[in-house]
């Protein structure tokens, strides 16, 4: 009875639910943040943090909720970026149509790749996804007549219905809106039968299957969703930066993305946002350290994971709850 009355309360105060409440808070942060921005450089870093957050929110569905590792998501990011860029630059498609087509294409690729390799488990899955990412980056670097090779290619600006997005403010608004949409979609998925199915198969695939959950189908689905998030962020990055190189598909970049998710906290959508933001901003702050930057960054990463093993957001919110109780 107690539980059902609590559920009623949730329905009344929609903004107090974890889903809507968190999104409202995030929207507020996104809206207020520019007040503290001194110049375009701040916007640039914020935009990159937003784009990384979009990828990580998707990747967290796969890693945090479904428990399936991917060390190849930079591959999907780069495919989204190059797909959008090539269709727009080489074939003269309208940028928005190119973006949508590229993302749809990546969804198809993710489906075809995910079907077979998601049968693998743990480190073997990590290796297989890593292999996929490496293949993408080599093909992008090698096919230089189409992609411009390792030195990258120029991308035309993003335009929609006559409006050309150039200014930092416009891009901040676009990326901010996309981030909110990404978080909303992800939170919806988490709190749906599909989300429960993902968490279930994370704990015990046998028990999940006994409950009637088609594990392979759900794994592939969430793999595709996370790839779509990465591809969309990739397409936006290409248009925003106006320039892309195959290093966006590199193994190092894939590892960086996973690190962001784990750093922020697995199975926490807002953890993914925090992880992506912190690890995007931190290197900018550490440039004052010059040659010590890499060592200090590595040490900070190690220390955080040793002392906050569940990631920043879950560990800290756990402490907070214990404190208020």
């Amino acid at each position: 009875m107690r539980a059902s009355s609590r559920a009623d309360a949730r329905r009344t105060w929609w903004w107090a639910t974890p889903r809507s409440g968190g999104i409202a808070a995030l929207a507020l942060v996104v809206a207020v943040l520019p007040l503290g921005f001194a110049n375009g450089y701040f916007y640039d870093v914020a935009i990159q943090a937003g784009l990384n957050s979009i990828i990580c929110v998707g990747l967290n569905l796969l890693i945090g909720y479904a428990g399936q590792i991917s060390l190849g998501h930079a591959g999907f990011f780069a495919l989204g970026a190059y797909g959008s860029a090539l269709l727009a630059a080489r074939y003269g498609w309208p940028p928005s149509l190119a973006l949508v087509t590229a993302v749809a294409g990546v969804a198809l690729v993710a489906y075809c790749v995910g079907r077979p390799i998601l049968r693998l488990k743990g480190h073997y899955l990590a290796m297989a996804t890593l292999g996929f990412g490496v293949i993408v980056s080599i093909v992008l670097a090698n096919d230089d007549r189409l992609t411009g090779g390792p030195d990258g290619m120029q991308v035309p600006p993003f335009a929609l219905a006559g409006y050309v997005a150039r200014s930092d403010h416009a891009w901040y608004a676009i990326v901010g809106a996309c981030l909110l949409a990404a978080v909303w979609l992800a939170q919806n998925l988490v709190e749906s039968p599909t989300g429960r199915a993902l968490r279930a198969l994370h704990t015990s695939e046998v028990a999940a299957a006994i409950a009637g959950i088609d594990c392979p189908r759900h794994k592939v689905n969430v793999f595709v969703v996370s790839a779509v998030f990465a591809a969309a962020a990739g397409g936006l990055t290409a248009y925003y930066a106006g320039f892309i190189t195959p290093s966006s598909a590199s193994f190092v970049r894939s590892v960086e993305l996973v690190t962001m998710v784990v750093f922020g906290g697995m199975a926490s959508t807002f953890g993914a946002v925090v992880g992506a933001t912190v690890l995007t901003v931190l290197p900018q702050a550490l440039t004052v350290l010059k040659e010590y930057e890499l060592a200090v960054f590595g040490a900070l990463l190690m220390a955080t994971m040793v002392f906050l093993p569940r990631g920043v957001v879950p560990t800290l919110s756990g402490l907070l709850q214990r404190g208020t109780r």
Binding site: Y41, P150, G242, T245, S247
Partner: protein, 388 residues
């Protein structure tokens, strides 16, 4: 009292920061420094470019300041390490322009990082001198973009001219998969025909590969092979050179200007004997005849760099030297750091003698070097020798 005690370090720190800001503002009002920004690939796969570039810039900014600065103002150098990543390079360029408010940018160690920065510097209208190789940086000419290193196309031309002289026609190409290698490979393929060179094999290797015998075995088996050209940098060309001798290939081996450093000879050892490559005069500073206009400049740079850093000079540090000195020269002539005036002054540079050659810039040529800037070198007895 506990709280106050705990807060004490914080308050004193805040006080110090405030004091520094006031002081800083006072100094700035007295004399605004000339702000030079730089994005370099100090770490990562292109660190062999960025590392000597950074060292060179730091050393000469220090020297210029010790000598009283330029037009009575001190130089302030801000360097960001992009690790060879174009995305980072773009953000750092933005940071230099918007946050650090630099007057001019020297840098972009690689073509990728340079290309990522170009849209921003063009938009912000800031003089930009790239230290990267590809010809695409200055072709077509972009108003605010210059570069100091010889292009990879020039390297190809120098090598092919030498081959033509030695009557070597059937040439195999082996290159790495990095940006430098791929770009040079593409340029060489483009200009080969003009020198009557026929590319009979075209192989590649990964940047971190440990053995290239498979590729070289294929090349060795190519009928009519007369010479091999390796475009690349880092340990790749060294391994190629060693594998080349291991397989007993006897036709001449040419390397690119990417390994133009004494370190190449040290690492490759005996296998390097007889290898030819095009390089700037810097590498053979002492061997230059006294009549050579570049001699004084390159000998001085070489001496300074090697004395300060106890390591062999490379032509890449020289590119940074040229970039910095071009800017300093232009600012002196412009008499201010007004961006448009400095840009015009750079474009009007004439007869500037740098480590890379004699630079004559114009509205249609933002590089200003010709083929004479390159010297053909050969490894003889463990050292460089000029090919006459």
């Amino acid at each position: 009292m506990g709280i106050i005690d705990r807060l004490r370090p914080a308050t004193s720190l805040a006080g110090m920061v405030f004091a520094l800001m006031v002081l800083g503002a006072g100094v700035a009002a007295a004399q605004e420094p000339i702000r030079i920004g730089s994005i370099l690939s100090v770490t990562g796969p292109a660190s062999f470019l960025g590392d000597p570039e950074q060292k060179t810039l730091e050393m000469y900014v220090e020297r210029l300041n010790a000598a009283g600065g330029v037009i009575g103002r001190k130089l302030q150098l801000t360097i960001y390490d992009d690790g060879g990543d174009a995305e980072k390079a773009r953000t750092f360029t933005k940071r230099l322009i918007e946050q650090d408010k630099v007057d001019v940018i020297v840098g972009g160690s690689t073509t990728g990082t340079t290309m990522a920065a170009i849209p921003l510097v063009e938009q912000a209208q800031i003089p930009f001198i790239s230290l990267a190789g590809a010809v695409g940086i200055i072709e077509p000419v972009k108003k605010w973009v210059f570069k100091t290193p010889h292009t990879d196309r020039m390297a190809c031309e120098k090598i092919f001219a030498d081959m033509r002289e030695r009557k070597l026609v059937k040439v195999a190409l082996i290159s790495g998969t990095g940006g430098f290698d791929k770009s040079m490979r593409a340029e060489c393929l483009k200009v080969a025909g003009r020198y009557g060179i026929e590319i009979v094999a075209d192989e590649t290797y990964g940047a971190a590969d440990s053995d290239m015998t498979a590729q070289l075995t294929k090349i060795k088996a190519t009928p009519g092979l007369q010479a091999v050209l390796n475009a690349g940098f880092g340990q790749g060309p060294v391994i190629v050179t060693r594998n080349y001798r291991q397989l007993g290939i006897t036709v001449p081996l040419y390397q690119s200007h990417g390994v133009a450093s004494k370190q190449f000879i040290k690492l490759a050892g005996d296998a390097a004997e007889g290898v030819r490559l095009p390089a700037a005069a810097l590498l053979v500073a002492e061997l230059l005849p006294d009549t050579d206009p570049q001699k004084a400049v390159v000998v001085a740079y070489k001496r300074d760099y090697e004395a300060r850093y106890k390591s062999d000079v490379s032509t890449f540090g020289g590119h940074a030297y040229d970039g910095l000195m071009l800017v300093v020269d232009a600012i002196k002539r412009a008499g201010s750091t007004d961006k448009a005036k400095v840009r015009d002054a750079i474009e009007n540079t004439h007869g500037y003698i740098g480590t890379g050659g004699v630079v004559n810039l114009s509205a249609t040529d933002h590089l200003g070097l010709d083929l004479s800037a390159f010297r053909m070198l050969e490894v003889k007895n463990g050292d460089w020798a000029l090919v006459k």
